[in-house]
């Protein structure tokens, strides 16, 4: 617990706050429309539930700007005593999130590459260790980074349409950071997690349910309502007891990540600076463009 408190104050010192933006907390000047449009955050003080709706066309990709903005929002929610639950979902049809912005990983700007991984680790930590009850309302494809968002939550509900969810980093020529490997194993178990990660498997809803990657599969138009119902159920449990329990259960994974953050950032930086990785990424991007045509 002390470790987490220390980390939080450290994170506050180090957090980038280049952009301020309009949210329902009633904030200040809007310096960048791009960031303000990436997601919508609404809070309902009666129920204590916040909903984060990703809305960044075309695939809710997680860029340095987007992740930074999300980190700020998560921190604000954490500090807001009236909010105890968070649902993460998407308003873009068929897409939950396609993961990290590939154009920032392919032929990257060296200066921002390290920063990108730093804020990504920060995002994982904030979401994974959040005192809020977190539920992912997965109403579209949740690939790589998108799957990470879902894995960090307390509970995952997926739409029954043939959307795919999984960590396909190896298919793209990357290794996911260790904290994400841990998240996957923590959810689906070691045997299944190893296989899924090594093969970069993407799962349809029924399969995801079977292996425990998601907890529920419901009709597309029932996803958000089911998420609300689930958050309310979790909020019935005495808050402090639930929060302390969550903290204790997730502590080993969090400690491991905090101890290795710099190492992990270096690893991702070096991996992406490698010619072979860049080539595979380049081919992958080219194939995506071909698919569009």
């Amino acid at each position: 617990m002390a470790t987490l408190r220390l980390w939080r104050s450290f994170a506050r010192l180090k957090a980038i706050q280049p952009y301020t933006y309009r949210t329902s907390f009633g904030c200040c000047r809007s310096m960048s429309d791009v960031t303000a449009a990436d997601f919508d955050l609404s809070t309902d003080e009666d129920s204590g539930i916040a909903i984060l709706r990703m809305q960044k066309k075309p695939v809710n990709s997680l860029s340095l700007k987007t992740i930074t903005a999300m980190n700020i929002s998560l921190e604000k929610l954490e500090q807001d005593d009236r909010i105890n639950g968070l649902i993460i979902t998407s308003v873009i049809p068929k897409i939950f999130s396609g993961g990290l912005e590939l154009t920032e990983l392919y032929q990257p700007q060296k200066e921002t590459l390290r920063e990108l991984w730093r804020v990504f680790h920060e995002f994982w930590l904030k979401l994974y260790s959040s005192r809020l009850v977190t539920v992912a309302a997965i109403n579209g494809h949740a690939i790589a980074g998108g799957c990470v968002i879902a894995l960090c939550c307390d509970y995952r509900i997926m739409a029954s349409s043939p959307y795919k969810i999984g960590l396909n980093e190896t298919q793209v020529g990357l290794q996911a950071p260790v904290c994400i490997l841990d998240s996957m194993v923590n959810v689906v178990g070691h045997k299944t997690g190893e296989r899924a990660l090594k093969l970069g498997e993407l799962f349809l809803p029924a399969e995801a349910l079977k292996i425990g990657l998601v907890d529920e599969v419901v009709a597309d138009d029932a996803v958000l309502e089911s998420a609300r119902r689930e958050v309310k159920k979790w909020l019935q449990v005495p808050g402090h007891a639930r929060q302390l329990t969550k903290e204790a259960l997730r502590k080993p994974t969090i400690d491991r990540m905090i101890a290795r953050t710099d190492e992990s950032i270096d690893l991702m930086y070096n991996m992406l600076s490698d010619d072979v990785t860049q080539k595979v990424l380049g081919n992958y991007l080219a194939s995506l463009k071909k698919k569009e045509k």
Binding site: N186, V237, P238, R242, L249
Partner: protein, 298 residues
């Protein structure tokens, strides 16, 4: 592996298990008195050893709900120690003589308006009981013939095997529902049985599983009609005792000792944490409310 080194390993196991006994001090003197007072009384439990199979059946019978208080835990510790020293005994089954209840867990009266010294003794007795049971050289099984929340669930989870009666009994670690937090070693125990994912849901929601649900997630190993629970437990233990004991015991120890060591390393700290936590106003209030609600039910 040479027999010599096997025996040495087992001797080390026996030696380390002695460290679980209360240390000599003021505390020990009162424990000695407790030992003399309760060793022969057995108001709280019945013990039957079948010398043919080497299987002991320990029936919990502390009215009304097999609640674990300081005296009961001390007696359980001593009984376990006695059984482990008895070369004839190879396996142990926990079951209940109280209808519809396996064990309701920790006696709330030990935690509501507690006295500082007794509260610490109580917690130490619970820690020692869990540590001893969790790595016991005996093959252990829980024949769950009643409701098994919180501490009752812990006893079951600490065994090698769990058979539960089909029907309306529930089992789980429901501490959060009472506004308290299960100790980390409770969490470790359930995690080792059902995995991280299920544990997160189980513990945060304070979930009490039906027998069917418990089987589905692996919280229990077998689901049978109530009248067959004890027999199935015995059948299973007979299988386990076929395995060469030295090998099985060392394997169990290797697999489970890291979990126990985690508590051993900070036993004092854990006791102090409990002592500080349980006397908090919000916690006491929650416990008080729960006791009130129980009284109302009656």
């Amino acid at each position: 592996m040479a027999l010599g080194s096997l025996s040495l390993a087992l001797r080390q196991l026996q030696l380390s298990s002695r460290s679980f006994c209360p240390r000599a001090s003021l505390v020990y003197r009162s424990h000695a008195e407790l030992i003399r007072r309760y060793a022969t009384e057995s108001a709280n439990l019945d013990l039957a050893v079948d010398s043919a199979s080497g299987i002991a059946v320990l029936q919990l019978k502390r009215k009304p709900v097999n609640g674990l208080n300081l005296e009961f835990l001390t007696e359980l510790n001593l009984t376990l120690e006695k059984l482990e020293k008895d070369r004839q005994v190879k396996g142990l089954i926990f079951t209940s003589a109280q209808p519809k209840i396996f064990s309701a867990g920790l006696d709330i009266s030990e935690m509501y308006n507690p006295k500082p010294e007794r509260m610490r003794e109580f917690w130490r007795a619970l820690q020692n009981f869990w540590m001893r049971l969790y790595i016991s050289p005996l093959v252990t099984a829980a024949a769950i013939n009643g409701h098994s929340p919180a501490g009752g669930c812990l006893i079951a989870l600490s065994c090698d095997y769990r058979v539960m009666a089909s029907g309306s009994y529930a089992i789980g670690l429901n501490e959060t529902l009472l506004g308290i937090v299960a100790p980390f070693w409770f969490m470790d125990t359930i995690r080792n049985v059902v995995g991280q994912r299920e544990s997160e849901k189980a513990l945060q929601l304070g979930r009490l599983y039906s027998a069917e649900e418990a089987l589905k997630v692996g919280l229990i190993d077998e689901l049978v009609p109530e009248k067959s629970v004890l027999d199935h437990a015995k059948q299973e233990l007979l299988k386990w005792t076929q395995v060469p004991s030295h090998a099985r015991q060392l394997t169990k120890l290797a697999l489970r000792k890291p979990t126990v060591d985690k508590l051993l390393a900070k036993q004092q700290e854990d006791t102090e944490f409990f002592a500080e936590f349980i006397v908090k106003d919000s916690i006491q209030k929650g416990l008080g409310k729960y006791l009130e609600a129980l009284k109302q039910k009656k």
